[in-house]
Symmetry: C2
Subunit: 161 residues, 2 copies
Amino acid sequence: MLNIRQAEADDADAIWSIIEPIIRTGEVYTLPREMSRHEALAYWFAPAHRAFVAEDDSGIVGTYYLRANQAGGGSHVANCGYATVAWATGRGVARAMCEHSLEHARSRGFRAMQFNFVIRTNDRAVRLWQRCGFAIVGTLPKAFLHPQAGYVDAYVMFREL
Amino acid sequence: MLNIRQAEADDADAIWSIIEPIIRTGEVYTLPREMSRHEALAYWFAPAHRAFVAEDDSGIVGTYYLRANQAGGGSHVANCGYATVAWATGRGVARAMCEHSLEHARSRGFRAMQFNFVIRTNDRAVRLWQRCGFAIVGTLPKAFLHPQAGYVDAYVMFREL
Protein backbone atom coordinates (compact mmCIF):
# COMPACT_ATOMS: atom_id res chain seq x y z
CA MET A 1 0.00 0.00 0.00
CA LEU A 2 1.53 3.23 -1.20
CA ASN A 3 1.22 6.34 0.94
CA ILE A 4 2.11 9.74 -0.45
CA ARG A 5 2.79 12.56 1.97
CA GLN A 6 4.60 15.88 2.13
CA ALA A 7 8.37 15.44 2.49
CA GLU A 8 10.15 16.44 5.67
CA ALA A 9 13.75 17.31 6.38
CA ASP A 10 14.29 13.78 7.72
CA ASP A 11 13.51 12.39 4.26
CA ALA A 12 16.59 14.02 2.74
CA ASP A 13 18.73 10.85 2.81
CA ALA A 14 16.04 8.79 1.12
CA ILE A 15 15.35 11.47 -1.48
CA TRP A 16 19.02 11.83 -2.30
CA SER A 17 19.41 8.07 -2.66
CA ILE A 18 16.62 8.13 -5.25
CA ILE A 19 17.59 11.20 -7.25
CA GLU A 20 21.38 10.84 -7.17
CA PRO A 21 21.60 7.88 -9.59
CA ILE A 22 19.13 9.60 -11.93
CA ILE A 23 21.11 12.83 -11.89
CA ARG A 24 24.39 10.93 -12.44
CA THR A 25 23.12 9.17 -15.57
CA GLY A 26 22.37 12.53 -17.20
CA GLU A 27 19.64 10.85 -19.23
CA VAL A 28 16.45 12.27 -17.80
CA TYR A 29 16.81 15.61 -16.03
CA THR A 30 18.28 18.85 -17.28
CA LEU A 31 20.43 19.06 -14.17
CA PRO A 32 24.22 18.97 -14.08
CA ARG A 33 25.41 15.36 -13.75
CA GLU A 34 28.02 16.42 -11.21
CA MET A 35 25.48 18.18 -8.99
CA SER A 36 26.31 17.77 -5.29
CA ARG A 37 23.97 16.35 -2.69
CA HIS A 38 23.65 19.82 -1.20
CA GLU A 39 22.77 21.46 -4.53
CA ALA A 40 20.34 18.72 -5.51
CA LEU A 41 18.45 18.80 -2.22
CA ALA A 42 18.39 22.61 -2.28
CA TYR A 43 16.76 22.31 -5.69
CA TRP A 44 14.29 19.59 -4.68
CA PHE A 45 13.33 21.51 -1.52
CA ALA A 46 13.50 25.00 -3.11
CA PRO A 47 11.27 27.56 -1.35
CA ALA A 48 8.95 27.68 -4.36
CA HIS A 49 8.68 23.88 -4.49
CA ARG A 50 6.55 21.58 -2.39
CA ALA A 51 8.18 18.15 -2.08
CA PHE A 52 6.44 14.84 -1.49
CA VAL A 53 7.52 11.25 -0.87
CA ALA A 54 5.80 7.97 -1.70
CA GLU A 55 6.39 5.16 0.78
CA ASP A 56 5.34 1.56 1.13
CA ASP A 57 6.33 -1.18 3.58
CA SER A 58 9.87 -1.12 2.27
CA GLY A 59 10.32 2.61 2.86
CA ILE A 60 10.44 5.59 0.55
CA VAL A 61 10.24 4.49 -3.08
CA GLY A 62 9.54 7.75 -4.87
CA THR A 63 9.55 11.51 -4.57
CA TYR A 64 8.25 14.48 -6.48
CA TYR A 65 8.03 18.22 -6.21
CA LEU A 66 5.32 20.58 -7.37
CA ARG A 67 5.65 24.29 -8.10
CA ALA A 68 4.12 27.03 -10.19
CA ASN A 69 5.74 26.74 -13.62
CA GLN A 70 5.82 30.50 -14.13
CA ALA A 71 5.16 33.56 -12.01
CA GLY A 72 2.74 36.41 -12.70
CA GLY A 73 0.20 35.64 -15.41
CA GLY A 74 1.55 32.10 -15.76
CA SER A 75 1.17 31.10 -12.12
CA HIS A 76 -2.00 29.07 -12.63
CA VAL A 77 0.01 26.33 -14.38
CA ALA A 78 1.79 23.81 -12.15
CA ASN A 79 4.96 21.91 -12.90
CA CYS A 80 6.35 18.75 -11.30
CA GLY A 81 9.45 16.62 -11.27
CA TYR A 82 9.17 12.94 -10.30
CA ALA A 83 11.68 10.25 -9.36
CA THR A 84 11.21 6.59 -8.51
CA VAL A 85 13.83 4.36 -6.94
CA ALA A 86 15.29 2.11 -9.64
CA TRP A 87 14.29 -1.23 -8.11
CA ALA A 88 10.64 -0.17 -7.80
CA THR A 89 10.05 0.80 -11.44
CA GLY A 90 7.07 -0.84 -13.09
CA ARG A 91 5.06 -0.98 -9.87
CA GLY A 92 2.91 2.07 -10.49
CA VAL A 93 4.80 4.42 -8.18
CA ALA A 94 5.26 7.15 -10.80
CA ARG A 95 1.65 6.89 -11.91
CA ALA A 96 0.43 7.14 -8.31
CA MET A 97 2.63 10.18 -7.73
CA CYS A 98 1.39 11.80 -10.92
CA GLU A 99 -2.24 11.27 -9.93
CA HIS A 100 -1.49 12.59 -6.45
CA SER A 101 0.18 15.66 -7.92
CA LEU A 102 -2.77 16.36 -10.24
CA GLU A 103 -5.14 16.18 -7.29
CA HIS A 104 -2.90 18.31 -5.11
CA ALA A 105 -2.49 20.90 -7.86
CA ARG A 106 -6.27 21.04 -8.34
CA SER A 107 -6.77 21.51 -4.61
CA ARG A 108 -4.42 24.48 -4.67
CA GLY A 109 -6.30 26.13 -7.51
CA PHE A 110 -3.92 25.38 -10.38
CA ARG A 111 -5.77 25.10 -13.68
CA ALA A 112 -3.25 23.09 -15.69
CA MET A 113 0.02 21.21 -15.43
CA GLN A 114 2.99 21.49 -17.76
CA PHE A 115 6.13 19.39 -18.13
CA ASN A 116 8.74 21.55 -19.80
CA PHE A 117 11.24 18.97 -20.89
CA VAL A 118 10.36 15.30 -21.38
CA ILE A 119 13.18 13.69 -23.30
CA ARG A 120 12.01 11.73 -26.32
CA THR A 121 14.23 8.74 -25.50
CA ASN A 122 12.48 8.43 -22.13
CA ASP A 123 9.67 6.35 -23.68
CA ARG A 124 8.34 5.06 -20.39
CA ALA A 125 7.78 8.58 -19.12
CA VAL A 126 6.24 9.85 -22.37
CA ARG A 127 3.76 6.98 -22.45
CA LEU A 128 2.98 7.25 -18.76
CA TRP A 129 2.27 10.98 -18.95
CA GLN A 130 0.05 10.36 -21.97
CA ARG A 131 -1.89 7.77 -19.98
CA CYS A 132 -2.20 10.39 -17.23
CA GLY A 133 -3.91 12.74 -19.67
CA PHE A 134 -0.97 14.81 -20.88
CA ALA A 135 -0.62 15.77 -24.53
CA ILE A 136 2.55 16.65 -26.37
CA VAL A 137 2.03 20.35 -27.14
CA GLY A 138 5.54 21.10 -28.34
CA THR A 139 8.70 19.47 -29.64
CA LEU A 140 12.07 21.05 -28.93
CA PRO A 141 14.35 19.87 -31.73
CA LYS A 142 17.60 18.30 -30.51
CA ALA A 143 17.28 20.26 -27.29
CA PHE A 144 18.88 17.56 -25.12
CA LEU A 145 22.35 16.09 -25.33
CA HIS A 146 21.89 12.49 -24.25
CA PRO A 147 25.08 10.79 -23.02
CA GLN A 148 24.53 7.80 -25.33
CA ALA A 149 22.07 8.89 -28.00
CA GLY A 150 23.54 12.34 -28.71
CA TYR A 151 21.26 15.27 -29.50
CA VAL A 152 17.63 14.22 -29.11
CA ASP A 153 14.29 16.02 -29.09
CA ALA A 154 12.44 16.95 -25.94
CA TYR A 155 8.69 17.32 -25.56
CA VAL A 156 6.60 19.92 -23.81
CA MET A 157 3.63 18.11 -22.29
CA PHE A 158 0.49 19.74 -20.93
CA ARG A 159 -2.91 18.96 -19.50
CA GLU A 160 -5.76 20.93 -18.01
CA LEU A 161 -6.87 20.10 -14.49
CA MET B 1 23.50 54.51 -34.44
CA LEU B 2 22.68 51.74 -32.00
CA ASN B 3 25.44 50.28 -29.87
CA ILE B 4 24.89 47.09 -27.89
CA ARG B 5 27.24 46.30 -25.04
CA GLN B 6 27.35 44.28 -21.85
CA ALA B 7 25.40 45.93 -19.03
CA GLU B 8 27.18 47.32 -15.99
CA ALA B 9 26.00 48.07 -12.49
CA ASP B 10 25.69 51.76 -13.45
CA ASP B 11 23.01 50.83 -15.99
CA ALA B 12 20.62 49.65 -13.29
CA ASP B 13 18.55 52.88 -13.25
CA ALA B 14 18.11 52.83 -17.02
CA ILE B 15 17.26 49.14 -17.08
CA TRP B 16 14.71 49.51 -14.32
CA SER B 17 13.08 52.47 -16.10
CA ILE B 18 12.63 50.23 -19.16
CA ILE B 19 11.46 47.03 -17.51
CA GLU B 20 9.33 48.49 -14.72
CA PRO B 21 6.44 49.65 -16.95
CA ILE B 22 6.50 46.32 -18.81
CA ILE B 23 6.40 44.34 -15.57
CA ARG B 24 3.59 46.56 -14.22
CA THR B 25 1.32 45.97 -17.22
CA GLY B 26 1.49 42.20 -16.63
CA GLU B 27 0.92 41.66 -20.34
CA VAL B 28 4.23 40.31 -21.57
CA TYR B 29 6.40 38.67 -18.92
CA THR B 30 5.58 35.87 -16.54
CA LEU B 31 6.87 37.98 -13.66
CA PRO B 32 4.81 39.22 -10.71
CA ARG B 33 3.33 42.64 -11.56
CA GLU B 34 4.16 43.90 -8.08
CA MET B 35 7.84 42.89 -8.35
CA SER B 36 10.11 45.40 -6.62
CA ARG B 37 13.02 47.17 -8.27
CA HIS B 38 15.39 45.09 -6.18
CA GLU B 39 13.78 41.78 -7.17
CA ALA B 40 13.54 42.73 -10.84
CA LEU B 41 17.17 43.82 -11.10
CA ALA B 42 18.30 40.71 -9.18
CA TYR B 43 16.46 38.69 -11.81
CA TRP B 44 17.80 40.65 -14.79
CA PHE B 45 21.36 40.47 -13.44
CA ALA B 46 21.08 36.91 -12.03
CA PRO B 47 24.44 35.12 -11.81
CA ALA B 48 23.43 32.75 -14.62
CA HIS B 49 22.32 35.66 -16.86
CA ARG B 50 24.45 37.94 -18.97
CA ALA B 51 22.78 41.33 -19.37
CA PHE B 52 23.21 43.77 -22.25
CA VAL B 53 22.02 47.28 -23.07
CA ALA B 54 21.34 48.97 -26.40
CA GLU B 55 22.11 52.68 -26.53
CA ASP B 56 21.88 55.41 -29.11
CA ASP B 57 22.44 59.19 -28.90
CA SER B 58 19.46 59.51 -26.57
CA GLY B 59 20.78 56.96 -24.07
CA ILE B 60 19.81 53.42 -23.23
CA VAL B 61 16.77 52.35 -25.24
CA GLY B 62 16.75 48.60 -24.73
CA THR B 63 18.09 45.76 -22.65
CA TYR B 64 18.22 42.01 -22.79
CA TYR B 65 19.67 39.08 -20.92
CA LEU B 66 20.98 35.78 -22.20
CA ARG B 67 21.33 32.54 -20.28
CA ALA B 68 21.36 28.79 -20.78
CA ASN B 69 17.72 27.72 -20.89
CA GLN B 70 18.41 24.47 -19.04
CA ALA B 71 21.34 22.93 -17.21
CA GLY B 72 22.99 19.57 -17.84
CA GLY B 73 22.07 18.01 -21.18
CA GLY B 74 19.99 21.07 -22.10
CA SER B 75 22.73 23.65 -21.63
CA HIS B 76 23.48 24.06 -25.35
CA VAL B 77 20.18 25.94 -25.83
CA ALA B 78 20.17 29.65 -24.97
CA ASN B 79 17.27 31.74 -23.74
CA CYS B 80 16.80 35.51 -23.75
CA GLY B 81 14.47 38.16 -22.43
CA TYR B 82 14.27 41.52 -24.22
CA ALA B 83 12.81 44.91 -23.36
CA THR B 84 12.65 48.14 -25.32
CA VAL B 85 11.75 51.53 -23.90
CA ALA B 86 8.18 52.36 -24.89
CA TRP B 87 8.93 55.53 -26.87
CA ALA B 88 11.49 53.73 -29.04
CA THR B 89 9.29 50.88 -30.27
CA GLY B 90 9.17 50.45 -34.04
CA ARG B 91 12.74 51.64 -34.53
CA GLY B 92 14.37 48.23 -34.82
CA VAL B 93 15.80 48.12 -31.32
CA ALA B 94 14.34 44.72 -30.45
CA ARG B 95 15.39 43.28 -33.79
CA ALA B 96 18.93 44.57 -33.34
CA MET B 97 19.07 43.13 -29.83
CA CYS B 98 17.76 39.78 -31.07
CA GLU B 99 20.39 39.62 -33.83
CA HIS B 100 23.07 40.60 -31.32
CA SER B 101 21.91 37.89 -28.95
CA LEU B 102 21.95 35.24 -31.69
CA GLU B 103 25.50 36.21 -32.59
CA HIS B 104 26.60 36.32 -28.97
CA ALA B 105 25.00 32.93 -28.28
CA ARG B 106 26.77 31.44 -31.30
CA SER B 107 30.10 32.85 -30.13
CA ARG B 108 29.63 31.14 -26.78
CA GLY B 109 28.95 27.80 -28.40
CA PHE B 110 25.18 27.61 -27.96
CA ARG B 111 23.56 25.56 -30.71
CA ALA B 112 20.00 26.88 -30.50
CA MET B 113 17.83 29.49 -28.84
CA GLN B 114 14.45 28.95 -27.22
CA PHE B 115 11.80 31.37 -26.00
CA ASN B 116 9.69 29.55 -23.43
CA PHE B 117 6.69 31.79 -23.21
CA VAL B 118 5.71 34.23 -25.99
CA ILE B 119 2.17 35.34 -25.31
CA ARG B 120 -0.10 35.00 -28.30
CA THR B 121 -1.58 38.47 -27.84
CA ASN B 122 1.91 39.95 -28.18
CA ASP B 123 1.64 39.97 -31.99
CA ARG B 124 4.55 42.31 -32.53
CA ALA B 125 6.90 39.99 -30.69
CA VAL B 126 5.59 36.83 -32.37
CA ARG B 127 6.05 38.35 -35.83
CA LEU B 128 9.44 39.80 -34.98
CA TRP B 129 10.80 36.51 -33.66
CA GLN B 130 9.48 34.77 -36.78
CA ARG B 131 11.34 37.30 -38.94
CA CYS B 132 14.42 36.55 -36.84
CA GLY B 133 14.18 32.89 -37.80
CA PHE B 134 12.22 31.48 -34.87
CA ALA B 135 9.48 28.93 -35.40
CA ILE B 136 6.55 28.21 -33.11
CA VAL B 137 7.35 24.69 -31.87
CA GLY B 138 4.70 24.52 -29.17
CA THR B 139 1.45 26.09 -28.03
CA LEU B 140 0.62 26.21 -24.33
CA PRO B 141 -3.19 26.37 -24.16
CA LYS B 142 -4.50 29.22 -22.02
CA ALA B 143 -1.23 29.24 -20.12
CA PHE B 144 -1.24 33.00 -19.52
CA LEU B 145 -3.76 35.11 -17.65
CA HIS B 146 -3.74 38.42 -19.51
CA PRO B 147 -5.07 41.36 -17.49
CA GLN B 148 -7.45 42.39 -20.29
CA ALA B 149 -7.81 39.39 -22.58
CA GLY B 150 -8.16 36.71 -19.89
CA TYR B 151 -6.64 33.27 -20.40
CA VAL B 152 -4.64 33.24 -23.63
CA ASP B 153 -2.24 30.80 -25.28
CA ALA B 154 1.50 31.14 -25.13
CA TYR B 155 4.00 29.93 -27.72
CA VAL B 156 7.28 28.13 -27.35
CA MET B 157 9.58 29.48 -30.08
CA PHE B 158 12.84 27.95 -31.20
CA ARG B 159 15.61 28.30 -33.73
CA GLU B 160 18.93 26.65 -34.39
CA LEU B 161 22.03 28.81 -34.46
